[in-house]
């Protein structure tokens, strides 16, 4: 009788362990699948953006500079997380800024991004982009590594690292771009914070400086 009972308990434990293992396996497979799905989505976002930018560079070459800028602005807006970039580049000063100042800063920052992209747009059209590797970082971030190459091999390759995160809709947006290890958000942060610190957090002075240069 005792051995029968122990046999029954053992059977139950083994059944429990089997189910636990099965649940773990299903959960793990799903988790890995969702991780790899996210990575693929992140890579696809970058690929799509590069293709659109190259098309844009070719199609808009004869347009007026202002119209061209406006078009590239719309394209960039679609792919970057401007809210995040604004917060990340102003740090604790962001909380102290008024709603109007925040909006103005976002516009000025976008303008700066557009300006720097425009400078390299025609060159970008002649180059090719190749994704290298993507990895999940922490809970929310995705890194997509790639390289920009010159098919004619006249220019050296440039290593890029895109940092992305999903927004509320589930689509991926760019948070930062590192070109040969130089983070654009970190550089902009250093600039903005230097002006804000010098002027005791006066956002208007920063905005004036930014719009003057734009």
């Amino acid at each position: 009788m005792l051995s029968l009972k122990s046999f029954w308990i053992r059977k139950k434990i083994s059944k429990f362990l089997n189910y636990t293992f099965l649940i773990f396996l299903i959960f793990n497979v799903n988790l890995n699948k969702s991780f790899s799905d996210n990575l693929e989505m992140g890579e696809a976002t970058i690929q799509q953006m590069i293709i659109e930018a190259q098309k844009h560079a070719i199609n808009t070459i004869k347009l007026e500079p202002n119209v061209r800028s406006l078009k590239i602005e719309l394209l960039i807006k679609k792919y970057i997380n401007l809210d995040f970039m604004s917060k990340a580049t102003t740090g604790t000063f962001w909380k102290k800024a008024s709603e109007i100042q925040r909006e103005k800063y976002k516009v000025a920052l976008l303008k700066q991004i557009v300006l720097s992209i425009e400078e390299h747009l025609n060159t970008l059209a002649k180059l090719s982009y190749k994704p290298i590797k993507s990895e999940r970082r922490g809970k929310k971030l995705i890194y997509v590594k790639g390289v920009i190459e010159d098919p004619a091999k006249k220019k050296p390759s440039v290593n890029l690292l895109w940092k992305l995160a999903a927004n509320k809709n589930g689509s991926f947006l760019i948070l930062d771009l590192e070109i040969e290890g130089i983070s654009l958000v970190s550089s902009q942060k250093a600039e903005s914070l230097s002006i804000l610190r010098k002027n005791r957090g006066n956002f208007d002075i920063l905005l004036n400086n930014m719009t003057r240069n734009n």
Binding site: F84, K87, A88, Q112, L115, S116, E119, H120, R137, G138, K139, K140, L141, K153, K154, K163, A165, L175, D176, E180, G181, I182, S183, S186, S187, A190, E191, S192, S194, I195, L206, N209, M210, N213
Partner: protein, 246 residues
């Protein structure tokens, strides 16, 4: 080398080490370590003036008037002339792979005095200088400096540049040393022409001085420090980013 120059050299090294000593022993310094900012900004304005009036027009003429193939040859030759520094410093850093590869490439390209890259860029060689050797020996980065005509440096890198120059002078014959000195302006024009868009973009930024400092420090640290440093830096940035995403 005359006695006068020897004394000047010793003075420079001592000054650089003293400046370096002003810093904390922390190997990875923060972005804001710039105690000489006021002086640096003045030097930056001077360098910008020199660049706008002299270097930029010359480099633009260089790009438009000199055929791309010749410019590539000059660029290859300048890199080749700098190779002994990489070989010496890779050996000092016990990076034997880089030492061997750099030596082999130096000897191979030596057949064309470095004007033609016979290896066709197949071998990737990490550029090493005395600044990176000092970093390898855990010498702290020191304060950021803007050096007239040279541009951004840290005290450690400035010390490294001076020592590299001394090494080259000691190792090579007088005539080669003279060629080396004559090639400094060519090197400046070559570099300026390659970075023309980046430099123009920097001048358009809100605070060009801060942008140069940020670009230089980020680039230099990525060049010098190990993968572990880059991983640490990325982890810190990730944590900061996640905080802003919340």
């Amino acid at each position: 080398m005359t006695k006068k120059y020897k004394i000047l050299f010793i003075k420079c090294i001592t000054a650089a080490f003293i400046l370096n000593g002003c810093s904390s022993s922390n190997k990875h310094v923060s972005e804001n370590k710039d105690p000489f900012e006021k002086m640096n900004r003045n030097v930056f304005q001077f360098n910008k003036y020199v660049d706008k009036k002299i270097l930029s027009p010359i480099s633009k003429t260089y790009v438009t008037q000199v055929p791309a193939k010749i410019r590539l040859g000059v660029s290859n030759h300048l890199q080749w002339m700098d190779a002994p520094n990489t070989i010496i410093n890779s050996a000092l850093q016990t990076d034997m792979e880089n030492t061997i590869l750099a030596s082999a490439k130096f000897l191979l390209n030596g057949l064309s005095l470095g004007f033609y890259d016979l290896d066709k860029g197949e071998t990737v060689i990490k550029k090493r200088d005395f600044g990176s050797t000092l970093a390898n020996l855990n010498v702290s980065e020191g304060p950021f400096l803007m050096v007239p005509f040279i541009g951004p440096k840290t005290t450690r890198d400035l010390t490294g540049t001076i020592l590299d120059r001394q090494n080259m002078a000691k190792l090579s014959s007088n005539s080669i040393d003279d060629i080396n000195l004559a090639e400094i302006p060519i090197n400046m024009i070559d570099k300026r022409s390659k970075m023309s868009k980046t430099i123009d973009n920097i001048y358009l930024s809100t605070d060009p001085y801060i942008k140069v400092r940020s670009f230089y420090l980020q680039n230099r640290r990525n060049e010098i420090y190990s993968k572990k440093y880059i991983e640490n830096k990325n982890n810190n940035l990730d944590a900061e980013f996640e905080k802003f995403l919340d």
